[in-house]
Symmetry: C2
Subunit: 203 residues, 2 copies
């Protein structure tokens, strides 16, 4: 029996989630693991459930997070192609669309998410809701008819609500967040630890 | 000229700060660096300045932090000898006393802090203010007369206020926090990164 897939959550507007998305599949594959990607809304976990502020609006931490992000990019030879101080896109439409794809055609959810993350974070494109998401999805090879079906408001809303309920029930709160065989890991900094964990079977 | 010392901040009531304190000097010494220890009050940075809640009172994050703490201990063969769910000691008295020692006799501040951390976190002792701190300090070889001088309310208050002002001005907010040649590192998870940074001169 193949080992259980690794679960990976990210918010589309989280730069640390984006940087983790660039490495998580290759990292898990080295240990014979698949990765299931899940959308997460920090607006629900961090703001509503935890009652905290967004990091950029948190004194001291906001400045620190930018430094850490730049350092991480330098260290890993990654780069973000957009101004971090621009207002972020609305994270709800891509999260809903991704959740709907996970229901309708799970294999298409990850290519869709990857294409959106790339357009937004690597290429610095502005993304304004449904039409832009369709364009990006089609360019990534997702069938237009499937994207149209996944854009159904009621279906997508319910799919994302389910995803979020499950995430919170499993203790997920940040971006990136990874669960491996029940063990939770928060933060892009944990990728090296995850690598070790997968190699040795955990401590 | 020897390289600049590394600066290390911790709150006496932070278990992650304690675990970092067990490794930071040895780690820095391998790269020819001294470490200057500084007291920090999370009640000032996290609660007052950042406007956040204590981690144990933050939904989702509180549970996660406990898991991470246990995992870290298993991985590094460290252990905490007290019940994490007991109410913490008041962090102000040891922080003030340490700040006063940093002024009066800097070489005695670290042995004092280490003895308090050990008594509290390793041995699970209850620490109730000045008398217990004196006992612990004397047992650690700090002259009783010096401890008495450092317990002067006005001196200690002002010394800690200065320490806190400087810490905040340098962007310090959490425990543990390390600054090396102007580069900030937050969290016990960063010790491996710090090791790499000191080895290669940074990215």
């Amino acid at each position: 029996m193949p080992p259980e897939p690794v679960d990976f959550w990210f918010d589309f507007i989280s730069p640390f989630g984006y940087l983790a998305s660039l490495r998580i599949d290759e990292l898990a594959a080295r240990h014979g693991r698949e990765v299931r990607w899940h959308p997460l809304l920090l607006g629900v976990t961090v703001l509503q459930i935890m009652g905290l502020k967004p990091i950029p609006e948190t004194p001291l931490k906001g400045d620190y997070a930018v430094r850490e992000l730049l350092r991480y990019q330098r260290r890993h030879g990654q780069s973000i192609g957009r101004d971090l101080f621009l207002p972020p896109m609305a994270p709800l439409p891509p999260a809903r669309l991704m959740a709907a794809l996970l229901r309708l055609e799970p294999a298409q959810a990850k290519p869709f998410a990857r294409a959106v993350l790339r357009a937004y974070w690597r290429d610095g494109r502005q993304i304004h809701g449904a039409a832009d998401l369709q364009t990006i999805g089609v360019a990534a090879g997702i069938p237009a008819a499937l994207l149209a079906r996944a854009s159904d408001g009621a279906l997508a809303r319910e799919a994302l609500r389910d995803e979020m309920d499950q995430a919170v029930a499993r203790g997920v709160f940040g971006s990136p967040f990874v669960i491996i065989d029940g063990e939770p890991f928060f933060g892009v900094d944990k990728l090296e630890l995850i690598d070790e964990w997968l190699a040795c079977g955990g401590w």
